[in-house]
């Protein structure tokens, strides 16, 4: 088995077993898909997917869920320590994802030409970047919206060695998570790309209509808390008043990366 071109998938599930199982079956129907497992974020027992590979059944997880940062960290911890796979890449997904494109071989073929490329953000059709991807499949960038993400094993192992996680568990709802990640990636003279070769859209129906089944807040309340808690962390940890300060750090590190790595010919959008 040539595992080089395989991509593993970990899906965060909270109380939506059927939705998660359907997404897993859908993913498994594609070529070059490696391990596909569910990461359980404190579901009720009857809503735990049969594909679950790791679970947090603590009181806290059951009461509040894990959200993407804690959920992704739980899955990544399992992936690097326990997964029986040789895939170099893992895709982390919320279970409300809908597959839009799945060209795994082409994507990994492109990014594996660049050793420094350690993260890929799938670009959804609703992303502001999608219209720039007519003549290119991948682009170097630093500013991505939170959602699905594909990480390279070497990056995950490096971050776990350094800090025993990838994403900040204190940033519960994941406000600006991918900007923080971009800062850490570019500060290490590594890079991240966006691509539509693998792409998902978000089915917001679950958050709008089934938030009570998921046992989470309504979409509006969640958005308010995302900002309120996110700004608190931004201020407390970094002394910044708004996202623009953090984004400036990301942008400057990105510009510096381009300057010191002129050989990396991945196109940029701007």
């Amino acid at each position: 088995m040539n595992t080089k071109n395989e991509l593993d998938f970990l899906i965060i599930n909270r109380n939506l077993k059927n939705v998660t199982n359907n997404l897993i079956m859908d993913l498994k129907s594609h070529e070059n898909v490696g391990i596909v497992g569910a990461v359980d974020a404190g579901s009720r027992d009857e809503e735990i997917s049969k594909h679950t590979v790791v679970r947090d059944d603590s009181y806290e997880a059951k009461a509040y869920g894990l959200r993407i940062n804690r959920g992704y960290n739980l899955g990544l911890n399992w992936w690097i320590k326990h997964s029986n796979t040789n895939s170099n890449w893992v895709c982390l997904l919320p279970n409300d994802s809908i597959i839009e494109n799945m060209e795994i071989v082409k994507l990994l073929g492109e990014v594996d030409n660049y050793e420094k490329c350690q993260a890929i953000v799938p670009i959804s059709p609703l992303s502001a970047y999608s219209k720039y991807l007519i003549d290119k499949n991948i682009f170097l960038n630093w500013h991505f919206a939170e959602g699905p993400i594909i990480l390279k094993r070497s990056l995950v192992e490096y971050f776990f060695k350094q800090k025993n996680l990838v994403f900040d568990n204190d940033n519960f709802r994941g406000y600006l998570s991918f900007i923080y990640l971009a800062i850490e990636i570019y500060a290490n003279n590594l890079c991240m790309v966006g691509s539509n070769l693998i792409s998902f859209s978000e089915n917001e129906d679950f958050l709008i209509n089934n938030f009570n089944l998921i046992e989470t807040e309504s979409i509006d309340e969640n958005k308010n808390l995302l900002i309120k808690e996110g700004l608190l962390i931004l201020g407390k940890k970094y002394g910044l008043e708004s996202r623009l300060g953090l984004e400036l750090i990301g942008r400057l590190l990105f510009e510096e990366f381009k300057k010191v790595n002129p050989d990396i010919d991945i196109p940029t959008i701007f």
């Binding site: 609703l126 500013h143 996202r243 400036l248 701007f270």
Partner: protein, 368 residues
């Protein structure tokens, strides 16, 4: 805009000894031959005389916002103004602006898109007006004028930096081909948008807006385009931005910004506040009824607005400050307040100056 706003700008420019543009639209102030405007019922000529006399330090740039066909009115007595008439009216307005010695003129022919003109005709119209302005300037032996091109209408201009670059290149190429002067400013969307008394654009949104480039990506991209083309980058619709957003303008390198209704709103709020504080309820009822009945607030409210009557009145009150009925109402209020030892004029001026000064501080006017 109001007389008090103009006075406040002149005083603040003098205080900081730095340039500020007073930039009326054609509806606010226009040539005497075109009927003048709603600000103090002034014509361009009267406005110019007033500002030039008051601006002892010569810090004010007399400027024109959105000069182009249909910018004064799109219909007359319910009948659509045709292109030829709209263009003639615009030319007359520009001629007076230039003869009055305006320092900056924003040429914006983009309303033509609503009236059946194509994008290439809009370009031709802009070049035609630019050429016309230069003819008038040269005829009158006047110094060079700063021009501004582009539009802030979100439906009519590219929000995409690549499209904006393509448009700018096209304009600059044709301007050069026609040996016309290169504009000083280019207006591009930065993610600001005014509705009611809020800035609802993506600029200060704490989260990503679907299908809209993040501010931190959009603005540096625009700035690069402008720098490469040797043109300054001007933001429109900068009203109601919070202090944090304003503080980023200099850091991003935004060269200039237009602020319009916020200062008019500050004027109205100061009047209403004084009336309320001293219990002049009959004034409040009359003022409110008049503004609500005239429905100028409709221009700024969002669909299914939740704005209450007070908000509607502060949104639109400044449009009526030169209406006879409102002049009389405010004059009576002023007399009543004087009896109580209160100066309405000072309260209004203080409010407006605070509102303007907030921008000036963040735009570096306090720095030496």
């Amino acid at each position: 805009m109001s007389l008090e706003v103009i006075d406040s700008i002149i005083e603040l420019a003098d205080k900081y000894r730095k340039k500020i543009s007073i930039i009326p639209s054609r509806r606010q102030i226009d040539a005497k031959s075109l009927g003048g405007g709603y600000v103090n019922k002034w014509s361009t000529e009267e406005f110019t005389n007033y500002v030039r006399a008051a601006d002892k330090g010569k810090h004010i740039w007399l400027s024109r916002d959105h000069s182009g066909p249909w910018q004064l009115n799109e219909t007359v007595n319910g009948v659509m103004v045709n292109f030829e008439d709209a263009m003639e009216s615009c030319k007359e307005s520009l001629k007076v602006d230039i003869e009055c010695g305006f320092d900056l003129i924003h040429l914006d022919a983009s309303l033509g898109l609503k009236h059946g003109r194509s994008s290439s005709q809009i370009l031709d119209d802009t070049l035609y007006l630019l050429n016309y302005c230069e003819e008038i300037r040269i005829e009158n032996n006047l110094p060079e004028i700063n021009y501004e091109i582009g539009s802030d209408e979100q439906s009519q201009i590219p929000t995409d930096p690549l499209e904006a670059e393509e448009q700018l290149n096209l304009y600059l190429k044709n301007i050069k081909k026609n040996s016309l002067p290169k504009p000083t400013f280019y207006v591009i969307q930065t993610g600001t948008k005014v509705a009611e008394t809020r800035n609802i654009g993506s600029f200060q949104s704490p989260f990503n807006v679907e299908q809209v480039l993040p501010t931190s990506v959009q603005i540096p991209a625009i700035l690069k385009i402008c720098q490469e083309n040797g043109i300054f980058f001007k933001e429109h619709n900068s009203d109601y931005l919070n202090n944090e957003s304003l503080s980023w303008h200099r850091r991003f390198g935004i060269n200039a910004a237009n602020i319009a209704p916020e200062f008019g709103v500050a004027h109205t709020k100061a009047i209403l506040h004084a009336a309320k504080l001293w219990g002049f309820n009959s004034f409040l009822s009359s003022f409110t009824e008049y503004v609500l009945d005239n429905k100028k607030w409709e221009k700024w409210t969002v669909p299914k607005t939740k704005a209450d009557n007070y908000e509607k009145v502060i949104i639109a009150g400044h449009y009526h400050l030169s209406d006879e009925y409102i002049i009389k109402l405010v004059r009576d209020l002023d007399c009543d307040l004087k009896l109580k030892g209160v100066s309405l004029g000072e309260s209004i001026k203080g409010s407006i100056k605070n509102s303007i000064d907030r921008y000036l501080q963040y735009f570096g006017y306090g720095l030496f």
